[in-house]
Protein backbone atom coordinates (compact mmCIF):
# COMPACT_ATOMS: atom_id res chain seq x y z
CA UNK A 1 0.00 0.00 0.00
CA UNK A 2 1.21 3.52 -0.89
CA UNK A 3 1.94 5.90 2.00
CA UNK A 4 0.37 9.26 1.06
CA UNK A 5 2.48 11.15 3.62
CA UNK A 6 5.60 10.29 1.75
CA UNK A 7 4.43 11.03 -1.81
CA UNK A 8 6.86 13.39 -3.48
CA UNK A 9 5.23 16.07 -5.57
CA UNK A 10 7.22 17.53 -8.41
CA UNK A 11 7.77 21.31 -8.81
CA UNK A 12 5.49 21.29 -11.89
CA UNK A 13 2.60 19.89 -9.87
CA UNK A 14 3.03 22.66 -7.27
CA UNK A 15 2.98 25.23 -10.04
CA UNK A 16 -0.27 23.80 -11.47
CA UNK A 17 -1.80 23.77 -8.00
CA UNK A 18 -0.86 27.41 -7.46
CA UNK A 19 -2.31 28.36 -10.82
CA UNK A 20 -5.57 26.56 -9.96
CA UNK A 21 -5.82 28.45 -6.65
CA UNK A 22 -5.23 31.78 -8.36
CA UNK A 23 -7.84 30.98 -11.04
CA UNK A 24 -10.39 29.92 -8.38
CA UNK A 25 -9.71 33.13 -6.45
CA UNK A 26 -10.24 35.26 -9.56
CA UNK A 27 -13.46 33.38 -10.45
CA UNK A 28 -14.78 33.89 -6.88
CA UNK A 29 -13.91 37.60 -7.10
CA UNK A 30 -15.74 37.95 -10.43
CA UNK A 31 -18.63 35.94 -8.97
CA UNK A 32 -18.98 38.32 -6.02
CA UNK A 33 -18.82 41.36 -8.31
CA UNK A 34 -21.46 39.81 -10.62
CA UNK A 35 -23.79 38.97 -7.73
CA UNK A 36 -23.41 42.55 -6.47
CA UNK A 37 -24.16 43.95 -9.93
CA UNK A 38 -27.16 41.64 -10.54
CA UNK A 39 -28.64 42.38 -7.11
CA UNK A 40 -28.50 46.14 -7.86
CA UNK A 41 -29.99 45.56 -11.31
CA UNK A 42 -32.87 43.44 -10.02
CA UNK A 43 -33.67 45.52 -6.97
CA UNK A 44 -36.04 47.65 -9.09
CA UNK A 45 -37.75 44.59 -10.60
CA UNK A 46 -40.33 44.34 -7.84
CA UNK A 47 -41.43 47.96 -8.22
CA UNK A 48 -41.53 47.54 -12.02
CA UNK A 49 -43.90 44.57 -11.67
CA UNK A 50 -46.08 46.57 -9.27
CA UNK A 51 -46.17 49.47 -11.73
CA UNK A 52 -47.16 47.20 -14.60
CA UNK A 53 -49.96 45.68 -12.54
CA UNK A 54 -51.16 49.15 -11.65
CA UNK A 55 -51.12 50.25 -15.29
CA UNK A 56 -53.17 47.17 -16.23
CA UNK A 57 -55.76 48.12 -13.58
CA UNK A 58 -55.79 51.71 -14.89
CA UNK A 59 -56.53 50.42 -18.37
CA UNK A 60 -59.42 48.36 -16.99
CA UNK A 61 -60.73 51.41 -15.13
CA UNK A 62 -60.65 53.39 -18.35
CA UNK A 63 -62.61 50.69 -20.15
CA UNK A 64 -65.54 51.72 -17.96
CA UNK A 65 -65.74 54.84 -20.18
CA UNK A 66 -66.65 52.56 -23.08
CA UNK A 67 -69.62 50.88 -21.38
CA UNK A 68 -73.12 51.86 -22.60
CA UNK A 69 -73.91 53.64 -19.31
CA UNK A 70 -70.89 55.95 -19.67
CA UNK A 71 -69.99 56.25 -23.35
CA UNK A 72 -70.35 59.51 -25.27
CA UNK A 73 -71.76 58.68 -28.70
CA UNK A 74 -72.87 62.03 -30.03
CA UNK A 75 -69.75 63.04 -31.92
CA UNK A 76 -67.11 61.12 -33.84
CA UNK A 77 -65.02 58.40 -32.32
CA UNK A 78 -63.80 59.18 -28.86
CA UNK A 79 -63.00 56.07 -26.88
CA UNK A 80 -62.31 57.94 -23.68
CA UNK A 81 -65.25 60.34 -23.70
CA UNK A 82 -67.88 60.03 -21.00
CA UNK A 83 -71.40 61.41 -21.33
CA UNK A 84 -71.82 63.58 -18.25
CA UNK A 85 -75.54 64.23 -18.91
CA UNK A 86 -76.15 60.48 -18.88
CA UNK A 87 -74.32 60.08 -15.59
CA UNK A 88 -76.21 62.77 -13.70
CA UNK A 89 -79.46 61.06 -14.69
CA UNK A 90 -78.02 57.66 -13.83
CA UNK A 91 -77.10 58.87 -10.36
CA UNK A 92 -80.73 59.12 -9.31
CA UNK A 93 -81.93 55.91 -10.96
CA UNK A 94 -82.92 53.45 -8.25
CA UNK A 95 -82.95 50.60 -10.81
CA UNK A 96 -79.14 50.91 -10.99
CA UNK A 97 -78.66 50.28 -7.27
CA UNK A 98 -76.35 47.26 -6.97
CA UNK A 99 -75.68 47.22 -10.73
CA UNK A 100 -71.90 47.53 -10.35
CA UNK A 101 -71.09 44.54 -8.19
CA UNK A 102 -67.68 44.24 -6.47
CA UNK A 103 -67.04 47.94 -6.98
CA UNK A 104 -66.85 49.93 -3.75
CA UNK A 105 -66.36 53.33 -5.36
CA UNK A 106 -67.42 54.60 -8.76
CA UNK A 107 -67.13 58.28 -9.39
CA UNK A 108 -66.28 60.73 -12.17
CA UNK A 109 -64.56 63.94 -11.30
CA UNK A 110 -63.73 67.05 -13.33
CA UNK A 111 -60.04 68.00 -13.38
CA UNK A 112 -60.31 71.26 -15.29
CA UNK A 113 -62.06 73.64 -14.92
CA UNK A 114 -62.93 73.33 -11.22
CA UNK A 115 -66.10 74.72 -9.62
CA UNK A 116 -66.91 75.71 -6.04
CA UNK A 117 -69.43 72.90 -5.48
CA UNK A 118 -67.97 69.43 -5.18
CA UNK A 119 -70.78 66.90 -5.58
CA UNK A 120 -73.25 67.28 -8.44
CA UNK A 121 -77.01 67.21 -7.97
CA UNK A 122 -79.76 67.94 -10.48
CA UNK A 123 -79.93 71.45 -8.99
CA UNK A 124 -76.30 72.52 -9.33
CA UNK A 125 -75.35 70.53 -12.48
CA UNK A 126 -73.18 71.28 -14.51
CA UNK A 127 -71.42 73.80 -12.22
CA UNK A 128 -70.01 71.08 -9.97
CA UNK A 129 -67.03 68.76 -9.90
CA UNK A 130 -68.00 65.14 -9.17
CA UNK A 131 -70.75 62.61 -9.78
CA UNK A 132 -70.59 59.69 -7.37
CA UNK A 133 -72.49 56.59 -8.50
CA UNK A 134 -71.29 54.07 -5.90
CA UNK A 135 -69.66 54.75 -2.55
CA UNK A 136 -68.80 52.00 -0.10
CA UNK A 137 -66.62 52.03 3.00
CA UNK A 138 -63.44 50.12 2.46
CA UNK A 139 -61.66 50.44 -0.88
CA UNK A 140 -58.41 50.93 -2.70
CA UNK A 141 -58.96 53.47 -5.48
CA UNK A 142 -57.55 53.83 -8.99
CA UNK A 143 -57.93 56.81 -11.33
CA UNK A 144 -57.90 57.08 -15.11
CA UNK A 145 -58.10 60.22 -17.22
CA UNK A 146 -61.12 60.65 -19.50
CA UNK A 147 -62.97 63.48 -21.24
CA UNK A 148 -66.24 64.53 -19.70
CA UNK A 149 -68.56 65.63 -22.49
CA UNK A 150 -71.99 67.25 -22.47
CA UNK A 151 -74.09 69.56 -24.58
CA UNK A 152 -73.42 73.16 -23.52
CA UNK A 153 -76.38 75.42 -24.34
CA UNK A 154 -74.27 78.51 -23.60
CA UNK A 155 -72.02 77.94 -26.60
CA UNK A 156 -74.53 75.83 -28.53
CA UNK A 157 -72.21 72.88 -29.02
CA UNK A 158 -70.59 69.93 -27.30
CA UNK A 159 -68.16 70.80 -24.53
CA UNK A 160 -65.59 68.27 -23.42
CA UNK A 161 -63.50 68.81 -20.31
CA UNK A 162 -60.63 67.02 -18.67
CA UNK A 163 -61.78 64.60 -16.00
CA UNK A 164 -61.13 61.24 -14.44
CA UNK A 165 -62.95 58.05 -13.56
CA UNK A 166 -62.19 56.88 -10.04
CA UNK A 167 -62.90 53.26 -9.16
CA UNK A 168 -62.39 51.63 -5.80
CA UNK A 169 -62.09 47.93 -5.06
CA UNK A 170 -61.97 46.08 -1.77
CA UNK A 171 -58.31 45.57 -0.88
CA UNK A 172 -57.02 41.98 -1.22
CA UNK A 173 -56.22 40.51 2.19
Amino acid sequence: MMDLHHVKYSRGQFKIQQMVFVLIAIIILFGIVSVFFVSIKFSSLHSDVENQKKEAVLEQVRKMAGTPEFVWTSSGSCAACVDLDKLILLKNRTSYKGFWKDISLLKVSRVYPRYQTEECTLLNYPDCNSITLVKGDNYESYESFVSLCRYDGGIGQTRCEMGKIIMGFEPVK
Binding site: Q18, V22, A25, I26, L29, F30, V33, N51, E55, L58, E59, R62, C78, A80, C81, V111, Y112, P113, R114, S144, F145, V146, S147, C149, D152, I155, Q157, T158, R159, C160, E161, M162, G163
Partner: protein, 170 residues
Amino acid sequence: MKKKKGQEEIMGFVLIVVLIVVVFVIFLGIKLRNPEPAQKQSEIIYQFLESSMEQTTECVLNQNSRNVVMDDLIKECYSNNNVCISGETSCETVEDTMNDILNNTWKVGAEYPYKGYEIKADYFDNSSSQGKGEKVFLISSGNCNRSFDGNSYWIPQFPGSIIVSAKLCA
Protein backbone atom coordinates in the same frame (compact mmCIF):
# COMPACT_ATOMS: atom_id res chain seq x y z
CA MET B 1 18.11 42.08 -1.87
CA LYS B 2 17.02 38.81 -3.39
CA LYS B 3 13.28 38.30 -3.39
CA LYS B 4 11.84 34.85 -2.92
CA LYS B 5 9.82 33.33 -5.81
CA GLY B 6 6.76 33.00 -3.52
CA GLN B 7 6.84 36.73 -2.72
CA GLU B 8 6.96 37.59 -6.43
CA GLU B 9 3.89 35.44 -7.09
CA ILE B 10 1.94 37.02 -4.23
CA MET B 11 2.87 40.41 -5.63
CA GLY B 12 1.57 39.32 -9.05
CA PHE B 13 -1.72 38.13 -7.55
CA VAL B 14 -2.15 41.34 -5.57
CA LEU B 15 -1.44 43.31 -8.77
CA ILE B 16 -4.20 41.42 -10.64
CA VAL B 17 -6.69 42.02 -7.82
CA VAL B 18 -5.75 45.73 -7.61
CA LEU B 19 -6.12 46.02 -11.40
CA ILE B 20 -9.60 44.46 -11.32
CA VAL B 21 -10.68 46.69 -8.41
CA VAL B 22 -9.38 49.82 -10.21
CA VAL B 23 -11.28 48.89 -13.41
CA PHE B 24 -14.43 48.25 -11.36
CA VAL B 25 -14.13 51.55 -9.48
CA ILE B 26 -13.60 53.48 -12.76
CA PHE B 27 -16.67 51.74 -14.28
CA LEU B 28 -18.76 52.51 -11.18
CA GLY B 29 -17.53 56.13 -11.14
CA ILE B 30 -18.50 56.71 -14.78
CA LYS B 31 -21.87 55.03 -14.21
CA LEU B 32 -22.65 57.17 -11.16
CA ARG B 33 -21.32 60.44 -12.56
CA ASN B 34 -23.42 60.44 -15.76
CA PRO B 35 -26.65 58.74 -14.79
CA GLU B 36 -28.77 58.59 -17.94
CA PRO B 37 -32.27 59.78 -17.19
CA ALA B 38 -34.29 56.60 -16.90
CA GLN B 39 -37.42 56.83 -19.00
CA LYS B 40 -40.52 54.73 -18.44
CA GLN B 41 -43.49 54.62 -20.79
CA SER B 42 -46.50 55.53 -18.78
CA GLU B 43 -50.10 54.58 -19.54
CA ILE B 44 -51.47 57.30 -17.26
CA ILE B 45 -49.55 59.98 -19.19
CA TYR B 46 -50.91 58.66 -22.48
CA GLN B 47 -54.42 58.81 -21.02
CA PHE B 48 -53.72 62.35 -19.84
CA LEU B 49 -52.54 63.45 -23.29
CA GLU B 50 -55.43 61.76 -25.10
CA SER B 51 -58.03 63.31 -22.79
CA SER B 52 -56.45 66.76 -22.78
CA MET B 53 -56.54 66.78 -26.60
CA GLU B 54 -60.36 66.53 -26.40
CA GLN B 55 -60.59 69.59 -24.15
CA THR B 56 -62.89 72.29 -25.56
CA THR B 57 -60.98 75.57 -25.37
CA GLU B 58 -62.33 79.11 -25.05
CA CYS B 59 -60.93 80.02 -28.47
CA VAL B 60 -63.47 80.90 -31.16
CA LEU B 61 -61.73 81.84 -34.39
CA ASN B 62 -64.62 83.51 -36.26
CA GLN B 63 -68.01 84.94 -35.37
CA ASN B 64 -70.62 82.14 -35.44
CA SER B 65 -67.96 79.45 -35.44
CA ARG B 66 -67.44 76.85 -32.72
CA ASN B 67 -65.11 76.70 -29.75
CA VAL B 68 -62.01 74.90 -30.95
CA VAL B 69 -60.95 71.58 -29.45
CA MET B 70 -57.35 71.39 -28.14
CA ASP B 71 -55.87 69.15 -30.86
CA ASP B 72 -57.36 71.34 -33.61
CA LEU B 73 -56.05 74.43 -31.83
CA ILE B 74 -52.54 72.93 -31.73
CA LYS B 75 -52.77 72.36 -35.49
CA GLU B 76 -54.03 75.93 -35.90
CA CYS B 77 -51.16 77.19 -33.73
CA TYR B 78 -48.64 75.41 -35.96
CA SER B 79 -50.14 76.32 -39.33
CA ASN B 80 -51.60 79.87 -39.02
CA ASN B 81 -51.50 81.05 -35.38
CA ASN B 82 -54.69 83.06 -36.02
CA VAL B 83 -56.13 85.28 -33.32
CA CYS B 84 -59.19 84.08 -31.38
CA ILE B 85 -62.16 86.45 -30.87
CA SER B 86 -60.95 86.99 -27.28
CA GLY B 87 -57.79 88.63 -28.65
CA GLU B 88 -55.40 85.83 -27.69
CA THR B 89 -53.55 84.00 -30.42
CA SER B 90 -54.23 80.29 -30.86
CA CYS B 91 -50.74 79.46 -29.54
CA GLU B 92 -51.30 81.58 -26.41
CA THR B 93 -54.65 79.86 -25.81
CA VAL B 94 -53.04 76.42 -26.21
CA GLU B 95 -50.33 77.28 -23.67
CA ASP B 96 -52.73 78.91 -21.18
CA THR B 97 -55.24 76.06 -21.32
CA MET B 98 -52.53 73.42 -21.09
CA ASN B 99 -50.94 75.25 -18.13
CA ASP B 100 -54.30 75.36 -16.33
CA ILE B 101 -54.91 71.66 -16.96
CA LEU B 102 -51.41 70.74 -15.76
CA ASN B 103 -51.70 72.88 -12.63
CA ASN B 104 -54.99 71.18 -11.77
CA THR B 105 -53.63 67.70 -12.47
CA TRP B 106 -50.15 67.42 -11.00
CA LYS B 107 -48.60 69.34 -8.15
CA VAL B 108 -44.85 69.48 -8.72
CA GLY B 109 -41.96 70.74 -6.66
CA ALA B 110 -39.30 69.67 -4.19
CA GLU B 111 -41.90 68.73 -1.55
CA TYR B 112 -44.01 66.58 -3.92
CA PRO B 113 -43.37 63.07 -5.33
CA TYR B 114 -43.05 64.58 -8.82
CA LYS B 115 -40.31 67.18 -9.08
CA GLY B 116 -41.33 68.60 -12.45
CA TYR B 117 -42.99 68.16 -15.79
CA GLU B 118 -42.37 69.03 -19.38
CA ILE B 119 -44.88 68.95 -22.19
CA LYS B 120 -44.03 69.89 -25.74
CA ALA B 121 -45.36 69.64 -29.25
CA ASP B 122 -43.17 69.39 -32.32
CA TYR B 123 -43.98 69.14 -35.97
CA PHE B 124 -42.22 66.41 -37.95
CA ASP B 125 -42.12 66.28 -41.72
CA ASN B 126 -41.91 62.52 -41.96
CA SER B 127 -44.16 59.94 -40.36
CA SER B 128 -41.31 58.32 -38.41
CA SER B 129 -40.88 61.49 -36.31
CA GLN B 130 -37.11 61.02 -36.40
CA GLY B 131 -34.66 63.89 -36.17
CA LYS B 132 -35.31 67.36 -34.91
CA GLY B 133 -38.87 68.63 -35.16
CA GLU B 134 -40.18 72.15 -35.53
CA LYS B 135 -41.25 73.52 -32.13
CA VAL B 136 -44.95 74.24 -31.70
CA PHE B 137 -44.99 74.84 -27.95
CA LEU B 138 -43.10 73.92 -24.81
CA ILE B 139 -44.35 74.09 -21.23
CA SER B 140 -42.19 73.05 -18.31
CA SER B 141 -42.15 73.43 -14.58
CA GLY B 142 -39.88 72.27 -11.79
CA ASN B 143 -36.79 70.12 -12.15
CA CYS B 144 -36.69 67.50 -14.90
CA ASN B 145 -33.12 66.17 -14.97
CA ARG B 146 -33.48 62.75 -13.39
CA SER B 147 -35.72 59.76 -14.14
CA PHE B 148 -39.11 60.39 -15.64
CA ASP B 149 -42.31 58.76 -16.83
CA GLY B 150 -43.31 59.80 -20.30
CA ASN B 151 -45.42 59.17 -23.33
CA SER B 152 -46.48 60.87 -26.54
CA TYR B 153 -49.59 61.51 -28.60
CA TRP B 154 -49.72 61.75 -32.37
CA ILE B 155 -51.78 64.38 -34.23
CA PRO B 156 -51.89 64.05 -38.03
CA GLN B 157 -51.00 67.32 -39.80
CA PHE B 158 -50.58 66.88 -43.55
CA PRO B 159 -47.93 66.28 -44.90
CA GLY B 160 -46.33 65.38 -41.55
CA SER B 161 -47.52 65.08 -38.00
CA ILE B 162 -47.41 66.85 -34.67
CA ILE B 163 -46.11 64.81 -31.75
CA VAL B 164 -47.16 65.99 -28.32
CA SER B 165 -44.95 64.44 -25.67
CA ALA B 166 -45.11 64.70 -21.92
CA LYS B 167 -42.62 63.92 -19.17
CA LEU B 168 -43.37 63.65 -15.49
CA CYS B 169 -40.14 63.73 -13.54
CA ALA B 170 -39.44 61.94 -10.25
